[in-house]
Amino acid sequence: MEQGIICAGFGGQGVLSLGKMIVYVAMEKGLHVTWLPSYGPEMRGGTANCSVVASTEEVASPLVSTPDCLIAMNRPSLDKFINDVVSGGMVLINSSLIDIKVDRKDINVYYIPANDLALQHANERSSNIVMYGAYAKLNGNIGSMDEFEKILIKQFGKSADKDKIISAFHAGYEEIKV
């Protein structure tokens, strides 16, 4: 099994830490992982993204050119990567900020109103957590809900907003009906 993931969005949307949390879950599971950010003078706004690979074998190439899974937090990110997704792959879309529908029929697309759910359960900065929940639901082979939650608690255990964040995670998780 090898899954290549791209998480992409605006600078402040937490896509890099979203990717990192997925990596941690996969690591706990004993999978081989890599995490590669798009780096650069992105301090000044613009888009950010990272490539994550989780695999049962050693990861040869950390570059994800044809993702099995795309998490798109804003419109430019969706446009940039949608055509690269492998046939049969999955796409998680932040429908709070992306108001179009994907017309590719060979992939599984999920629309998650991440900003809305985040505001509802925690705060505006938690939209990535909502997506993390949605990803968890769809990727039982990477880890169980508990395993995803464990990593979340590790990350935010000491935060005052801990409970809200967990609630945002569950909201994302529940949003996916499979």
Binding site: P41, M43, R44, G45
Partner: protein
């Protein structure tokens, strides 16, 4: 009552700076001054390496992009070829006061007839918040994570004072880009600097205390206040050299 329009010495390209970064103010002051002095079609600018590395996209004139710290050398090369053109360099504190210290000092000593706009924001913005030679004592940066101390990281560098210790520079002033009144003062200083160049008086530099809200981890408004409250203690404002009428 007045009116305000974007200067025609700025292109329409959106600036690449973070929200509230006063690099943008410095850019537009230069543009306004050059416009007011009627220098359109008479200017060559030199961009540094730093957050203002894209200055060549923003100034509506001939531009050269210099290697990190070498803008004064590049400007010297240009000015010697086109002595009748207005030549300026725009540089950050890492660029001018650290890697490029020899270049700026020797341009000053040569009395090179160029204008330098020096953005002192006490940090390396472009590379993500490392210590600058101008960082304040106590300032936490990604390479002085416990706060700068004299013992570990040495003393903040004062460029106006350093240049003023030598013969060569014609005009040196330090201003801050923090509020309306001071921005107007800064504009007057920049204008004077260019006027001196046009009059052939030699090297002029305006040091602008400038914000880096992103790497200072402050709001733009807080950042301006920080300059007033803290930076000016180490970097007092004022004119450090002015040859006045003399050449």
């Amino acid at each position: 009552m007045a009116t305000y329009h974007k200067s025609n010495m700025l292109t329409d390209t959106p600036l690449s700076f973070c929200p509230g970064c006063t690099h943008g103010i410095a850019h537009k002051l230069i543009a306004e001054v050059l416009q007011e002095l009627g220098q359109q079609g008479n200017v060559i600018g030199v961009a540094p390496v730093g957050c203002s590395v894209f200055a060549y996209k923003f100034f509506n004139c001939d531009m050269q992009e210099a290697a990190h710290g070498r803008a004064p050398a590049v400007a010297t090369g240009i000015k010697r070829v086109h002595p009748d053109k207005v030549v300026f360099s725009y540089q950050g504190d890492g660029d001018l006061a650290s890697i490029g210290l020899a270049e700026i000092m020797h341009a000053g000593l040569r009395g090179e007839n160029i204008t330098v706009v020096f953005i002192n924001n006490a940090i390396y913005g472009m590379t993500g918040g490392q210590m600058a030679p101008t960082s304040l004592i106590g300032q936490k940066t990604t390479t002085s994570p416990f706060g700068r101390t004299v013992e570990r990281q040495g003393n903040p560098i004062r460029m106006c004072e350093m240049l003023a210790s030598q013969d060569g520079p014609a005009y040196l002033e330090r201003v801050m880009l923090t509020d309306y009144a001071n921005v107007l003062k800064a504009k007057r200083a920049i204008k004077k600097a260019f006027e001196y160049q046009i009059a052939g008086k030699g090297f002029s530099m305006v040091e602008c205390l400038s914000t880096c809200p992103t790497n200072w981890h402050m709001t733009p408004v807080q950042a301006c206040q920080h300059i007033k409250d803290n930076m000016t203690k180490i970097y007092p404002l004022g004119v450090f050299k002015d040859v006045g009428g003399a050449k």
